[in-house]
């Protein structure tokens, strides 16, 4: 579970990357926007997924068409997506709004928060009914043995081992101010992954860890929450943020959720999601106890899901590859002529390749035309696939011996005929090798598209990572690997068809 936040350093880096990518955005313009359903976003952790599903279900029951883009990333990505209209609503927490969206040090009242958001054209529902704040947890047995009940009690036990998530160690409302506030000075603190930390607690390799107060793992693992007796942790009351531009019935459907989920219920829903590995089904737990509506058809058979993921995956990788080919080959031809333009083209394609793929996705999201969409994923993949094609096309053409270039000229062939009948066929081996490299990279990188809700085989991988469920991860990872191998062999086959026989002797 991560509430991703950006430090100042990351923010500067993000801007820097943004500007370095600007020319690329001009290359690719997009398709049309159909009459769109209400789009609900969610962050990349279980509770957010479940709340997103509940909102979607609530809208649909009110007769409003809605879709849920799961696990799009962290706070900033969702906030930007909401502000730019890429999504219409998403679940958020008051503490996060104050600290990361409004960037206020002090705690604001609920009304103050609502006012500030209103200035950005964003509405906020009343509280959904629970406070999901940070907490320190211990094994019940261990806490009882040591007689620990509150965070203050920890002061007397500096020998306890703390295993804290990296984010908690780093946050402004995290470990350092907490330790200062309670004057804690433990001898042993390590950074550990959230999911792994529970295992470490159970085995006794750590004694105390950070958690969220509605975390299903707390009851599952028989842990106790140490009471925040000196009120350090800010309030993280769950709400829905929505665009004012939403139609009134949609806003009303969201408002119907106000005050309907208390901490016990949210913990139960989270536990349901982790147990069934199915967010939609967990969301039905909410409706089952609230209404007597008909059975929710959230369940989807595995072969059907696999087909859907694979189809989307191929769509992402295939369409982006097509664009890379259509644009990369002409750019490569241009670059092969050398000179300043050639250097600029190869340099630009090289720079794009050095931007981490995740960063490239994140950078595209806040831009007009892009946002949280398949379009963004395809654009990022397209940019990624460009370099191998451009470079191989350019080198393939430059490697044609001068005597053969001149023979083609001396024959009196027109420039177009020279390109199509002589140069491109002679460079075909190199060009195809470039396309193959791009294709394999694209099939692999397309798994990241799930991070911005574009689907594909990354979807089960991401859910699996969240649920700490290896089977779910493999449901995406194995088909993705198989797909990459298939693409590889497909291109080996294409080599035989497309490379002229005279070049294969």
């Amino acid at each position: 579970m991560n509430r991703i936040r950006k430090t100042g350093k990351q923010e500067t880096f993000r801007r820097l990357l943004l500007f370095s990518c600007v020319p690329a955005f001009l290359i690719f313009l997009s398709g049309s926007l159909a009459a769109k359903p209400v789009v609900i976003g969610s962050k990349k952790f279980t509770e957010s997924y479940v709340l997103g599903e509940i909102a979607k279900r609530s809208l649909i029951e009110a007769g409003i068409s809605a879709e849920h883009r799961q696990g799009m990333g962290g706070t900033i990505i969702l906030w930007e997506a909401l502000r730019s209209g890429q999504i219409d609503a998403y679940p958020e927490y008051t503490g996060t709004i104050t600290q990361e969206i409004l960037k206020r040090g002090a705690e604001l009242t609920f009304e103050q928060i609502a006012n500030e958001l209103g200035k950005a054209g964003i509405g906020m529902t009343e509280q959904l009914g629970f406070n999901n704040t940070y907490a320190l947890v211990m094994l019940r047995s261990r806490a009882e043995k040591l007689g620990l009940r509150t965070v203050s009690d920890l002061k007397n036990h500096p020998e306890l081992k703390f295993g804290l998530t990296h984010e908690f160690l780093d946050r402004q409302d995290g470990w350092r101010p907490l330790a200062q506030h309670y004057q804690l000075n433990p001898q042993n603190i390590i950074g550990i992954d959230h999911a792994l930390g529970y295992g470490a607690l159970g085995k006794g390799s750590i004694d105390v860890k950070d958690a969220y107060s509605t975390d299903a793992k707390i009851s599952e693992n028989d842990l106790v929450v140490l009471e925040d007796d000196r009120q350090f942790f800010p309030q993280y009351k769950a709400v829905f943020l929505f665009r004012y531009a939403l139609p009134t019935p949609a806003i009303e459907a969201l408002r119907k959720l106000e005050g309907t989920i208390d901490e016990a219920k949210m913990t139960r829903l989270n536990a349901g999601a982790e147990r069934t590995k199915n967010y939609a089904r967990a969301a039905t737990l909410y409706f089952d106890s609230n209404t007597t509506s008909t059975a929710w058809t959230g369940g989807e058979s595995f072969p059907h899901k696999l087909a859907r993921w694979t189809a989307r995956h191929l769509e992402l990788a295939g369409f982006s590859l097509l664009l890379s080919v259509l644009i990369g080959i002409p750019l490569g031809i241009w670059a092969s002529r050398g000179g300043a333009i050639g250097h600029v083209i190869l340099g630009f394609a090289g720079i794009v390749q050095t931007v981490p793929s995740l960063a490239l996705l994140a950078l595209l999201v806040p831009l007009p035309f892009f946002g949280i969409s398949v379009r963004t994923a395809i654009t990022a993949l397209f940019l990624y696939g460009l370099l191998p094609i451009v470079r191989n096309t350019a080198t393939g053409l430059q490697d044609i011996p001068r005597a053969l270039r001149e023979s083609a000229i001396a024959l009196g062939l027109s420039p177009a005929a020279r390109l199509w009948q002589i140069h491109l066929p002679m460079a075909s081996r190199s060009i195809l090798a470039g396309i193959k490299t791009s294709a394999v990279i694209n099939v692999g990188t397309a798994t990241l598209a799930a991070l911005i809700g574009a689907g594909g085989l990354g979807e089960p991988i991401l859910s699996g990572l969240n649920l700490n469920d290896h089977a779910t991860i493999l449901q995406g990872a194995i088909p993705a690997a198989v797909l990459a191998l298939l693409v590889q062999s497909l291109f080996d086959l294409l080599d035989r068809v497309l490379i002229p026989k005279g070049l294969r002797l």
């Binding site: 005597a403 053969l404 001149e406 023979s407 000229i409 009196g412 062939l413 005279g502």
Partner: protein
């Protein structure tokens, strides 16, 4: 008979050696003119100027009465524009053959005819004719250049150059890379072909025996300038300079010719 190609005061300088200076040259119709001289003397440069792969710095090249270099900026030398019509009236054979490896022998030979949309039956008839002329087995036409011997490749290259019945044939050391036996056979065939077709040809070689055997007119070039022009007897008996004598004496085997 008037000259098919005329070079008037043509100069071309490069960073490196193969420059030519103030060249005046006539290529007579129906004759084989041979450019001979040491490596790097600029003889290949003259062929490249005529086919328009490079442009002269000064001077004029006149092909069949029309200037061919007048309006071409030098930096566009690799992109001929209007010169393509001249190129289609000229065949060009280079030492390595210049065959395209992705096309079969047939594909190489017919490339230009296809490009110009010549009728299929006409092309095939011409192809058979050329195979007979160059003694190339028709059964090998489906092979790729890499599947042919060096001599066979030069025969294909010659057929490609002759396909459109060019008025002028330019040959840049066409036999330079072949072993002596193949070379001798091809020399003989070339001589026959030139005679049969009454072909105007301009051939570059550094081998005096080849020049004497094939050439009606020998042009000796040194350091980018024409030193002497005439028959082998002229060169031997009335050398224009000590260089001419030295060049001829260096290839003593000629005494037997």
């Amino acid at each position: 008979m008037s000259a098919l190609v005329q070079l008037v005061g043509v100069s071309k300088t490069f960073g490196d050696a193969a420059a030519v200076h103030a060249i005046d040259l006539l290529v007579e119709r129906g004759k084989t003119t041979v450019l001979i001289g040491p490596s790097g003397c600029g003889k290949s440069t003259l062929l490249r100027l005529i086919i328009g792969l490079i442009q002269p710095d000064i001077g004029e090249i006149i092909f069949d009465g029309a200037k061919i270099n007048a309006d071409k900026p030098a930096r566009r030398s690799l992109d001929g524009g209007g010169i393509d019509t001249v190129r289609r009236r000229v065949g060009y054979v280079i030492q390595e053959g210049g065959l395209f490896p992705h096309l079969t022998a047939r594909g190489n030979i017919l490339l230009m005819a296809h490009h110009l949309g010549r009728p299929e039956n006409e092309m095939l008839a011409r192809l058979s004719e050329l195979c007979a002329l160059t003694r190339f087995p028709e059964s090998l036409l489906g092979r790729y250049p890499l599947e042919l011997s060096g001599g066979q490749r030069q025969r294909v290259s010659l057929m490609r150059a002759l396909m459109l019945s060019p008025e002028l044939l330019l040959l840049d050391e066409p036999l330079g890379a072949l072993d002596p036996l193949v070379r001798a056979a091809l020399q003989q065939d070339l001589k026959e072909i030139f005679a049969r077709l009454r072909q105007t040809a301009l051939l570059v070689t550094h081998d005096l025996a080849e020049a004497a055997y094939l050439g009606d007119e020998i042009v000796l070039v040194n350091e980018g300038r024409i030193v002497q022009q005439g028959s082998l007897a002229d060169l031997r008996e009335k050398p224009a300079s000590s260089f001419v004598s030295e060049f001829i004496n260096a290839q003593r085997s000629l005494a037997v010719l």
